[in-house]
Symmetry: C2
Subunit: 371 residues, 2 copies
C-alpha cells in the first residue's frame, strides 16, 4: 500500500492517484460500463434521456476517458505524428514555432494531441517514422517538405496509414495535401517585375528534389510568357537554399554577358545571399538589381532595403494540415482533402524599376571587376 507522505525526496515513482474511471460513472448511475461507453460515444441504441443522464454524470464526476485505454480496443490513439528534419544548416527556422502552434491548436480543438520527433538525415526521418508507425504512436502523419518522389509517402501509402503532405508530389495517388501556391507567387513576381520595366528576369530555384521547385519554376515561366518575354535557360540560376549558395548563384547570373536586372528567388534565404553579392559588386538593391523572393522569413524585414517577398502563413498551414489529417483518419477520401492557399505579397524595397539596361549593367559590372 502506498501512503501519501509529504516527503518529496522519496524515490517513489508513481503518482497513482485514483482517477475517475468509466466504472465509477456506471456505478454512480446504476448502469453498466457498456451503457456508459455507448452513451458517450454516440451509439444509436441508447435512449436520449439515458444519454443525457450519463453525460451529465460524467461531467459532474470529471470523467475523462484515457485515450490509451481506448486505443487498445479501437486502435486509435487520437494523436497526430510529425517527424521533422532538423539539419545543421537551416535548423534556425523561425517558421517552426508558428507551424507547430497551428498544428497543435487544430489538434487540441478536436481533443487530439501531437507526437513530435526529429531526425537529422533523410534516412533518420524514415527510421523514426517507421518506429512511430510500428508502435502506433500516432494515427496519422503530417509530412512537411515533400519531395517529388518521397519515400515517406511510398512507405505510408504501402502500409495504408493516413497522412497528409505539406506540399505536393509527383504521383498524387492516395495523397491528401495542403500547399501554398508558390507557382502563382512566382508568376506574380515575374509579372510584377516585368511591369516595372524589367526585361531580363532570372530565377534562382530551390532544390530540384522538391516539388515546389518545379512548380515555382513553372510559375516563373508562365509569368515570362504573360509578359511576352522569351524564356532564356541561362537565366535559371543554380539551385540555392542558403545565403551562401544564393550569393554564389547571384554572382553567376550577374556574370552573364547579358545579366538580369531582376531576380526571383524560390526561397528568401537565397535572396538574402544576393544582398551580399550586391554589396561585393557595388550594386544597389532596388535600383541596379531588383529582387523578389518567397517565404516571408523575418530577416527579410531587417535587410536593407527590405526584401519584397511572398509570405507563407505557416500557422494557418499547420492548422489546416491537422484539420485535414484528422478528417483523413476518420475516413475521408484523400482526393477530397487537397487544399491550396495563396502566398501574400509583402512589398518592401527590393523591387523597383531598373536603373540600368542589362547592357549597362554588364558595363557597370565589368568596370567594377577591373577596379
Amino acid at each position: 500500500m502506498q501512503t501519501a507522505s509529504t516527503d518529496m525526496s522519496t524515490k517513489r515513482p508513481a503518482p497513482n492517484r485514483s482517477r475517475v474511471t468509466i466504472a465509477d460513472v456506471a456505478k454512480d448511475l446504476g448502469v453498466t460500463k457498456s451503457t456508459v461507453s455507448r452513451a458517450l460515444n454516440g451509439y444509436p441504441d441508447i435512449a436520449e434521456t439515458t444519454r443525457l443522464r450519463i453525460s451529465r454524470a460524467a461531467e459532474r464526476l470529471g470523467y475523462r476517458p484515457l485515450s490509451h485505454a481506448q486505443a487498445i480496443r479501437t486502435g486509435r490513439v487520437r494523436s497526430l505524428g510529425l517527424v521533422l528534419q532538423i539539419d545543421s544548416e537551416d535548423s534556425a527556422r523561425p517558421f517552426l514555432a508558428n507551424f507547430i502552434a497551428g498544428i497543435t491548436q487544430a489538434a487540441s480543438a478536436e481533443n487530439w494531441t501531437v507526437t513530435i520527433a526529429t531526425a537529422e538525415t533523410d534516412e533518420g526521418v524514415r527510421e523514426t517514422l517507421s518506429r512511430l508507425v510500428d508502435e502506433h504512436k500516432a494515427d496519422g502523419f503530417i509530412l512537411p517538405r515533400t519531395l517529388r518522389q518521397d519515400q515517406r509517402v511510398a512507405t505510408l501509402r504501402a502500409q495504408n496509414i493516413p497522412f497528409i503532405m505539406f506540399g505536393r508530389t509527383d504521383d498524387p495517388t492516395g495523397c491528401a495535401w495542403y500547399d501554398i501556391k508558390g507557382e502563382d507567387a512566382m508568376r506574380a513576381a515575374t509579372t510584377r517585375l516585368a511591369s516595372l520595366g524589367h526585361t531580363r528576369i532570372a530565377h534562382v530555384p530551390g532544390g530540384a528534389e522538391y516539388t515546389y521547385s518545379k512548380l515555382r519554376i513553372q510559375g516563373y515561366r508562365e509569368g515570362l510568357e504573360a509578359a511576352g518575354i522569351p524564356f532564356d535557360p541561362d537565366l535559371i540560376g543554380a539551385p540555392s537554399l542558403t545565403r551562401q549558395s544564393g550569393d554564389a548563384s547571384t554572382r553567376a547570373l550577374l556574370a552573364l554577358p547579358e545579366p538580369p536586372t531582376a531576380i526571383t528567388f524560390a526561397v528568401d534565404r537565397a535572396a538574402l545571399g544576393a544582398y551580399r553579392a550586391a554589396q561585393a559588386l557595388n550594386l544597389r538593391i532596388g535600383a541596379d538589381i531588383s529582387l523578389i523572393a518567397y517565404d516571408g522569413v523575418p530577416e527579410g524585414a531587417y535587410a536593407d532595403p527590405g526584401l519584397t517577398t511572398f509570405a507563407v502563413n505557416s500557422r494557418q498551414a499547420g492548422e489546416r494540415l491537422a484539420t485535414l489529417l484528422i478528417k483523413r483518419i476518420r475516413g475521408a477520401a484523400p482526393e477530397d482533402l487537397r487544399e491550396l492557399a495563396p502566398a501574400t505579397l509583402v512589398e518592401r524595397g527590393s523591387d523597383r524599376p531598373p536603373r540600368l539596361t542589362p547592357t549597362e549593367l554588364a558595363q557597370h559590372l565589368k568596370h567594377q571587376s577591373t577596379i
Copy 2:
C-alpha cells in the same frame, strides 16, 4: 531483414496482416504471455536461457509492444510532455527547432516519444497542461521559461506529477531543473567590459517575473563588485524582451546625466533594439557605446557590428532536460536532478574599449539632440 514468408515450419500460414502481439511470440515458443512479458521486462524469476530464447524470438518475429497497451496496466505511456507558449510577439524563435531536436533525440534514445502542445497565454498553458495531465498523455513534463513563482510548478507538484524545469524558481522544493548559468555570463560580461576600461556599465534586465532576470542582475552586480565599481540603481534599465523595448530602454539609459558607455543585456533581442537607438543617436556601437548580451540568436551575427553575446546551447538543453526528466519519472529524487551549464562567449564587435568618457558621451548626446 525479416523473413516471415520463407519459413516453411510456421504453424500458421496466416497472412499475418495485423501486428505481432505478445501472444504470437508466446505461441511461437510454446510458453505463456506472462513468461514473455516478464522475460522482456527483466523480471528476476526468468531463467537466463529462457530470457535469451524469448528475446531472440521477439526480435525474429519483429515484436514491438504497444506502449499504450502497456500503459493501461503500468500507467506509463513512455512519453514526455511539452507545452510551449507561443505568443504573437516572439513567435519567431529560431532556438525552438534545436531545443525540440534535443528533447526528441534524448527521448528517442530511450524509446520514448514527445507529446507537444502550445498555447498563447499563461492561462492557456495551464489549461492545456491540465488536459494533458488529466488524460495522462505524458508521464512527465518539461517546463520552459520558468517564472519565479510558477503556477505550473505548483500544479504539478501538488498532483505529484514528475516535471523538470528549464530554468529555476523561487521555491525549489521538489523541483528538478536544468539551467544555464546566466548569472555567470552576466558577471563575466561585466568584468570583461570593466577590464576594457568601462566604468559606467548598465544592465537591461528581462521580465521581472522570470527567475533568470533576477539571477542575471545578480551576476551583473557581482561583476561590478569584482571590478570595484559601485552599483548605481539608475543603471538598471527598464525590463526589455523585444527590440522595441530594448531601443527605448537604451535611450533612457543614455539620457542619464552620466550615461553608461557600456550596457549588458539579459536578452539579445533587447540588445538588437539598442542598435536602432544608437543609429538614431548617431553613436557607433563598439566605440561610443559597447554592448554585451545573452542568448545567441542568429540575428546577432548579422548585425553590424556583430553582437557580442553569451550563447546558449539549446539543443543540449533539450537533450539534458529529456534525459533528466526520464530519470525523474523512473524514480530519481528531484534533488539529484539539478544541472547547470555555462553559456559560451561569442566574441563579435559590439564590445570595445570606450572611446569617450561618460561625461564626453553626455556632451556628444546633448550635441546630437540639439541638431
